[in-house]
């Protein structure tokens, strides 16, 4: 069942590429706003590059988390999962992974364009991509908890953003520090390890928390 859900998600993403394109476009737009607002001071921009990157990653990915469960909730697909005795936490994990592949990886693929804007050395890109990938996966795990908690609520997207943002601080802080260290050619391992640790903790907590939230949402439907 879970493999079918994953293929379905990829298939749907291919059939409506607009979602992905707009997320990537939003990501690039946020990043281009900063030089316009701050001015073309290359020293200042170089100092802020990693912060700008992470703010763009966070803001661009936030609205997409709403899409995690809302379709399956409204079509009644979640009901069918319960009736067919499928493991909801497994479903949650599959949705998180497929969402990361569909929404997260294109953002990372857009990094070379960012590198052009901010004069990031190409040699730093692979490491930067890895750090952002780990951070984005952690954000998606967090997003799943918020998205499942706000299922069926009015103004769910605003509510889930308010739920996610405070919890996302550590991820953004460790991610920014690690990326900054990479850009300056310093040792990034401590910050990266902390980022990885946050991701692993969320990997344990998120499917379980999402399971209970989904179960509750189905009962309240």
């Amino acid at each position: 069942m879970m493999r079918q859900v994953f293929t379905r998600d990829l298939r749907l993403a291919m059939r409506r590429p607009g979602d992905v394109i707009s997320t990537v476009g939003f990501f690039l737009m946020i990043a281009t706003l900063f030089p316009l607002a701050i001015g073309p001071d290359s020293k200042m921009l170089a100092l802020m590059t990693s912060s700008i990157l992470w703010i763009a990653v966070l803001l661009a990915s936030l609205p997409s988390f709403d899409r995690l469960f809302v379709d399956d909730y409204h079509t009644g697909f979640l009901d069918r999962l319960v009736i067919s005795n499928a493991a909801l936490w497994e479903y949650a994990l599959v949705r998180i992974i497929s969402h990361f592949c569909i929404m997260g990886l294109p953002l990372i693929a857009a990094l070379p364009i960012m590198a052009l804007f901010f004069a990031i050395p190409l040699s730093a890109l692979p490491l930067l991509a890895l750090i952002i990938a780990v951070g984005l996966f952690a954000l998606t795990l967090l997003g799943a908890i918020a998205a499942s908690l706000t299922l069926g609520a009015r103004r769910a997207s605003l509510l889930s953003a308010i739920l996610i943002l405070p919890l996302a601080f550590p991820i953004v802080i460790f991610g920014t520090l690690a990326s900054q260290a990479v850009l300056e050619g310093q040792d990034y391992s401590a910050h990266f390890a902390l980022l990885g640790a946050s991701c692993l903790i969320l990997l344990v907590v998120s499917p379980a928390a999402t399971f209970y939230a989904l179960r509750y949402a189905i009962e309240e439907r």
């Binding site: 079918q4 859900v5 379905r8 298939r11 379709d71 697909f77 069918r80 067919s84 009962e219």
Partner: protein, 202 residues
């Protein structure tokens, strides 16, 4: 069907939403090869009652009985295999008929009648075509069919198809519980349960 169909029933079960009782208590057995019709006005709690039976909504008053024991809502799908036809058909408009069928039943498309229609995205279907596809998802191998207004948008040919499916399923010992306000396979009915609105005693 599993080796032996478990005995399924409910005891003093009210349909209830948000802790509010909607109907009077229903105590009933649903033995194998039985066809139960749930009747009642619009909004009388038929769909809610079916959601209780499917284990989707925990009842705040009354119990589901499986093999003589009270079953918690989460245990129902573990002990019984259920085909559920509800208002929401769980299908996705951007997927084709075949893709929806494979996803929801876990069977390959070969088990579905070949038709060009099923290669088109579901968003192009009429309400009746959509409902017809959900009828194909009813599984004779399941213990119970829970049907919520299964015939609302069907034409005469498809209605006959549904009645044949019910007759065939009952013949191999299945349990059918259908909420409907339209006549459906009336000659096969084993019992009729009419849901009356609950009125709290002063």
């Amino acid at each position: 069907m599993t080796q032996k169909t478990p005995l399924f029933g409910c005891q003093a079960l009210h349909a209830c939403r948000d802790e509010v009782l909607l109907t009077t208590a229903v105590t009933a057995d649903f033995p194998s090869a039985s066809y139960t019709q749930l009747r009642g006005r619009n909004g009388s709690g038929k769909s809610t009652f079916l959601r209780h039976l499917a284990g989707l909504l925990p009842p705040s008053s009354g119990h589901i009985i499986i093999d003589g024991k009270m079953a918690k809502p989460a245990e129902i799908p573990q002990q019984l295999s259920i085909s559920y036809l509800g208002h929401d058909d769980a299908m996705h408009g951007d997927l084709t008929g075949y893709e929806n069928f494979e996803l929801l039943t876990g069977q390959s498309r070969i088990s579905l009648v070949q038709s060009d229609l099923y290669d088109r995205p579901l968003s192009t279907y009429s309400a009746g075509q959509r409902q017809k596809l959900t009828l194909h998802m009813l599984d004779d191998a399941h213990d119970i069919w829970l049907l919520d207004e299964p015939s609302a948008s069907l034409d005469e040919a498809n209605l006959t198809y549904l009645e044949e499916r019910i007759a065939g399923y009952l013949a191999c010992g299945g349990i059918v519980i259908a909420a409907t306000h339209l006549p459906l396979a009336q000659s096969l009915i084993t019992q009729t349960i009419t849901l009356e609105p609950y009125e709290a005693r002063p």
